[in-house]
């Protein structure tokens, strides 16, 4: 990475670390969302931008991660820092099942996307009837449970969540950058560009895709654990819903599919805009459910029409941060 790029990254990181000193509660909550969506965007981008598989059902892994960890806490008192290590395998297993069904049976492109949606929807309705986790009435993390306010049970104010979200976003970016430059990363690109030619070069394409799916699903599950404990309530109709899946994909698509900084740029642009829109509308006392989603939908359409490779590649060219590879 060129020195200018390095300097910018360092500056940005420093600003994020110091932000809680000057930011109010509201701004912190917006920043948490930015980091959260940047993180999830990186996870999804791994599967789509690198391995080339379109998943519109990532809410499945979000929900499985969230429910596993929160259920372990409410039912057995197992804290999230342990719960996450159970949530990850659960979601990864689901991802591998979806992937295996899809790729073993050569389900491609749009059909694969439909498959992922079907799995997420199936699970959503399933959880609507799962009484042990509250079914459709939802699961609640009470603040009065003993130990609920301890940091190791993710209790406490937004500051804890702020730094966790930041750590997740930074960690995910470093992981993605590392993978991109690894042999695995090269193989993913080959599989994305031309699966048959990749096979001829000796790459086991199902294996490569499964690894991408496993990492992507596992990472998303961690995001789910965060979601569950941050919002402190879970409903199948929300966490497994297709709007969650669409929320996850917007930032990386807007920012730039298959690029390392795309999801971050996308999250930085979209989340504050979306939140500002909501705040603005509420300021005028108007009740407009869905306004933010309309905004996101429009942005999606505009970007995919005019600049389908995303904002980041365009920005990088302008800033002179460009190399032969994004």
């Amino acid at each position: 990475m060129p020195p200018l790029g390095r300097a910018l990254c360092a500056l940005l990181l420093l600003a994020c670390l110091a932000a809680p000193l000057v930011a109010d509660r509201y701004l912190l909550s917006v920043l948490i969302l930015v980091f959260y969506f940047a993180y999830l965007g990186q996870a999804w981008n791994l599967l789509m931008g690198f391995a080339g598989q379109l998943s519109l059902g990532h809410a499945l892994y979000l929900g499985l991660g969230a429910y596993t960890a929160t259920a372990l806490w409410t039912l057995f008192g197992i804290g999230p820092w342990i719960g996450v290590f159970i949530a990850i395998p659960v979601a990864t297993a689901a991802g591998l099942a979806v992937g295996w069904l899809g790729w073993r049976f050569a389900i491609q492109g749009v059909y694969f996307a439909l498959l992922t949606i079907a799995f997420a929807e199936f699970t959503r309705i399933g959880f609507d009837h799962l009484t042990i986790t509250g079914a459709s009435a939802g699961l609640f993390l009470s603040v009065s449970t003993p130990g609920a306010d301890k940091w190791w049970n993710l209790g406490g104010g937004p500051l804890l969540y702020y730094y966790i979200a930041l750590a997740l976003a930074v960690g995910a970016t470093l992981l993605v950058a590392r993978l991109r430059r690894s042999p695995l990363g090269y193989r993913w690109l080959a599989v994305r560009e031309d699966p048959e030619a990749a096979q001829a070069a000796g790459i086991n394409i199902i294996r490569a895709r499964m690894i991408a799916m496993a990492i992507s699903a596992g990472m998303t599950a961690i995001g789910g654990v965060f979601y569950g404990f941050y919002y402190r309530n879970l409903f199948p109709s929300q966490v497994f819903d297709i709007s969650r899946s669409i929320e996850i994909i917007i930032a990386p698509i807007i920012g730039g599919l298959g690029t390392i900084f795309g999801p971050i740029v996308g999250a930085i642009i979209l989340t504050p805009l979306g939140e500002s829109l909501t705040a603005l509308i509420q300021h005028f006392g108007v009740n407009t459910p869905g306004a933010k989603s309309i905004f996101y939908g429009l942005v999606l359409m505009v970007i995919i029409s005019l600049q389908p490779s995303g904002v980041w590649p365009w920005l990088a060219r302008r800033l002179g941060l460009n190399r032969s590879r994004p």
Binding site: R187, L189, D194, E196, A198, Q199, A200, A201, I203, N204
Partner: protein, 240 residues
């Protein structure tokens, strides 16, 4: 001479159309073997079966003593068979170097070593000056060379070349012929499908002629190109 590749009784049918019918031949280690024949003769189908993209309905394929028919393409690549495609398929959004590195990653998991192998291969195929160019922006002859480079970087014992000369001008053809001769001298066995007789006669030590999916002649160029059945079905009067 050892048999590197042994194809025995191979057939393939597509819903009533017999694309390849009971074809048998052997390729010796270190030789250049050509498969020729009119369009639709079944040459690419044959190749696809050797490379693992298609499974034969009947017959056996043995490579370096091991049965390989029905294996996946990547399994076959890993056993030492590299292939190019009739319609070139470089990884379009990636640079020339990255394309070749991906091939090299079959030989090693260490990126430094892979880059080294890629560099050597690019020099050999005269692509080193274009290493940073994006594959989709290359000219056709360069893309063909890139295909060969990528296949070569996998370190194959046998290289399958599917009409690699198609669409090239005579000078470019001569360049590739020279490169292939060099590769062969370096120990790579080559099995090629070709229409460009100039290249076939310059390279091949033995030729197999296919017509309507069946082998109608096999032998040295002198034998085959004078065979009346071959001349009638394929070459025509202006054979050379």
């Amino acid at each position: 001479m050892t048999e590197l590749l042994s194809v025995s009784g191979i057939s393939k049918r597509f819903r009533g159309l017999t694309a390849v019918s009971n074809v048998s031949f052997n390729v010796h280690a270190g030789e250049i073997f050509a498969v020729i024949g009119p369009n639709g003769a079944g040459k690419t189908t044959l190749f696809s079966m050797i490379a693992g993209a298609l499974a034969p309905d009947e017959g056996r394929i043995t490579f370096a003593g091991e049965r390989i028919e029905g294996l996946r393409p990547d399994q076959i690549a890993r056993r030492g068979i590299g292939r190019t495609f009739q319609i070139v398929r470089p990884f379009p959004a990636l640079s020339v170097e990255d394309n070749v590195v991906i091939g090299a990653l079959l030989q090693t998991d260490a990126l430094d070593r892979a880059h080294q192998i890629a560099e050597q291969t690019m020099v050999q195929l005269d692509l080193i000056g274009k290493r940073d160019q994006i594959a989709s922006s290359l000219t056709l002859p360069d893309r063909k060379r890139l295909e060969v480079a990528r296949a070569l970087a996998t370190g194959p014992k046998l290289l399958l070349l599917d009409e690699v000369m198609a669409g090239l001008r005579p000078t470019e053809t001569d360049r590739i012929v020279a490169t292939l001769r060099e590769l062969n001298a370096g120990g790579v066995t080559i099995l090629l499908i070709e229409h460009v007789m100039r290249a076939v006669t310059a390279l091949a030590s033995r030729i197999l002629v296919l017509h309507h999916g069946a082998a109608i002649a096999e032998g040295s160029p002198e034998q085959v190109l004078r065979d009346p059945a071959v001349i009638e079905s394929y070459l025509g009067a202006e054979s050379l």
